[in-house]
Symmetry: C2
Subunit: 434 residues, 2 copies
């Protein structure tokens, strides 16, 4: 075992890197199970997981985890179960956080018959594979169940409250993060539908802030430790004003969710950083909750509601795939360069069953990875990753760990241990055990 300098350095990161703030340094004291320091010993440190949430939707795996044979149960797109099976390894090799579909209409198409068990099975299936989960969304005007429409406002409110309580309670300890309410900026004035849905009606009647408050109140009571996210696609001053009202109202949001479905074209670094700076002003973590880049033609700029553009064929092209690969690298570099960004969720692993029929996946419909998949994997698991690295403990049993915030294994001749590298803890102790 070759012995290197005990100070480990992630590749390509120096003191001037824009990603400096994501690289931490800690003294790790390694002890035997009897408490004595393991001095002057060769160790191998190896990253196991990123603390940063590299997310993707896990919609494709609901059927698979539940042993279903068709995609009939999919509410918001996704691959057929047999195709999904071939995506698992690709998915797990890049992503550590899965967004699970709690769209109300699909989750409870018949009042009183929620698919709680189906999603519990899925969340456990992901947990067993080391994947954290996020529930999306608890309250949203789109895909609100049709049975809600006939209820008067007071009953709609009670049904919304009960639904939030029920889901957050049932998944406590399993789903730690929730998009509590989605797209509130447009919610009370949403009119791209034939008849006004009940959630829009409720929000119009109660007001945006009262609607947010009731959703967050119920979620917080149901799981006080959960990370509760306010999520929106509106990146204008409207969302800023909404957030300022939410903070003024004393509603405790834990993170600001920013959608970035770039079907109409990549934002570029300047616009992205401007958006991040504007929303970072509130001192809350930013979750880039829904990130899309297409590998085909971009959607015409005049389309206002993305749902209004769903061509019969929207192919992935060679040229588009190269562009998508370049853009995904630029975009993730930009996002991670901003200290406020704590999570980035890409919206879809595969083109099969993708939202809007867009070539937005990182894997083609035939299951082969696009260049964007490989490019993102290179970032997440190579450039931003500490591979097995050799070092030697000093006379006190300490070795310096210098790497990306996350989980590391420490392997010694006396056994192996796992350590969490986080900004909160510059001094770490591990006890190795065979």
């Amino acid at each position: 075992m070759p012995s290197l300098d005990p100070v480990q350095s992630p590749r390509d990161v120096d003191s001037h890197s824009p990603l400096d703030h994501r690289v931490l340094r800690a003294d790790v004291t390694v002890r035997r199970s009897d408490g004595t320091p393991l001095a002057g010993t060769d160790v191998v440190v190896e990253q196991q997981r990123h603390a940063f949430a590299f997310g993707n939707i896990g919609f494709d795996f609901v059927g698979l985890a539940n042993g279903e044979t068709t995609a009939a149960g999919n509410v918001f797109g996704g691959a057929e179960p047999d195709a999904a099976a071939r995506l698992v390894d690709l998915w797990l090799d890049v992503f550590n956080t899965a967004t699970l579909p709690f769209y109300w209409q699909g989750f409870e198409p018949v009042r009183g018959e929620p698919q709680t068990e189906r999603l519990l099975v899925t969340a456990r299936w992901l947990q067993e594979r080391g994947v954290a989960t996020k529930g999306h969304p608890l309250v949203w005007h789109t895909l609100a169940p049709t049975w809600l429409d006939e209820l008067p406002d007071a009953e709609v409110e009670e049904a919304v409250r009960a639904r939030v309580r029920r889901e957050v309670s049932a998944f406590e300890g399993l789903v730690p993060t929730w998009d509590v309410i989605n797209e509130v900026v447009i919610m009370p004035v949403f009119d791209n539908e034939e008849t006004t849905n009940a959630v829009t009606r409720l929000c119009r009647s109660r007001g945006r802030l009262a609607t947010i408050r009731l959703a967050f109140d119920e979620a917080r009571r149901a799981d006080p430790r959960a990370t509760l996210v306010l999520n929106d696609f509106d990146m204008s001053t409207a969302y800023e004003c909404l957030i300022e009202g939410v903070l003024e109202a004393g509603i405790a949001i834990d993170a600001i969710g920013l959608q970035s479905h770039m079907h109409q074209g990549y934002w570029g670094e300047d616009r992205t950083l401007a958006v991040l700076d504007r929303f970072a002003r509130y001192g809350l973590p930013l979750h880039l909750s829904e990130t899309t880049l297409v590998s085909g033609d971009t959607m015409p700029a005049h389309i206002e509601d993305l749902n209004d553009f769903q061509p019969e064929h929207w192919p992935s092209t060679a040229e588009g795939e190269e562009r998508q690969a370049h853009e995904i690298v630029r975009h993730y570099r930009t996002l991670l360069s901003h200290p406020s960004v704590a999570a980035v969720t890409y919206w879809g692993i595969t083109d099969a069953g993708a939202w809007l029929g867009a070539p937005s996946g990182l894997v083609r419909a035939d299951g082969t990875p696009k260049p964007a998949y490989d490019a993102l994997r290179r970032l997440v698991k190579e450039e931003w990753w500490l591979p097995p690295t050799y070092g030697r403990t000093d006379e006190c049993g300490s070795v310096v760990l210098h790497g990306w915030a996350g989980t590391y294994s420490v392997t010694t001749p006396d056994g192996t241990a796992t350590v969490e590298l986080s900004a909160d803890r510059p001094d770490l102790e591990v006890v190795v055990d065979r």
Copy 2:
């Protein structure tokens, strides 16, 4: 004196008119100075004034009222004093409410030397002519004084507070309505300037709601009876979200100011009504505070900040003047059809010195009225106006007054009196006096 039916009806208004809600009916009991009813007597009722605020800017008259000979003192455009003199009668024949320029940079170019006296003289000059006034604006990032820029945030806040207190106190009883704060949606992120102004800096540091609160707190304390307006050009959901935050914060705004500088083209009825409906949801009066329609080419649609388009020549054209006349009628009809609209201020009487150099006036630069002037006058003083109308009191001395909310004279052989027709008072008493 011919005696007509004692029930008077404004012309062109029937029970199905969209302006029904602006037409009131009251029993007016006419008494002699000794208290006895004036029964069975011919009376002439004549409208003197609209309760509805038909406003325009009074910027042109500041110099004139103060006996100045040049427009050098004008801060935000306006005609030369000698030209303004020829506009007075045209202005007074249509409008009853004047917006006065309190732009801080012009009002107090040197710290501690405000133009209080100059504006007091103007407000009194207007008051003597039966014109109500509105102060505009107390807090705004644009035209904030440059001497503010070097102060730290805490001193900027104190200077803003002191300025609001000072102006509202000095004009108490003379200026009953204020645009307390202007364009807060964009205020903290306004960047169309070389160096960031101090008010934007303050708003970014304190937040939008705290900035609104400090301005309204000071204004309310200085004149508890004043009508305090929040004003913006942003008609998107951003302004809705801001207002919801303001209401949540318990900041008492008395009216919502909606700008509508339509240099880029008339909105049309549908868009106008949609905007009014969205902002009427808050149950507050709507003031269409800044209304512009050009009588020349419209500004290109891609311009985001209207100030970025100021061509050297922007002529009024014959075709444009006809269009402006049609549009102003359509627009005022639409605005008055909505029960929440309490005030409409047109932005400029003359093209001379008009904002952006646009042909936005109702009078050409040479002082001749455009078709839009005549069209608006016809609405305000003919179609929506009760001309001298004959009636006869019944045996109790009562006559029914059916007309537009406003001030009426009641002339009898025994003398004349003035009466206010308002929704609050269906039964009126007047004492005529010679």
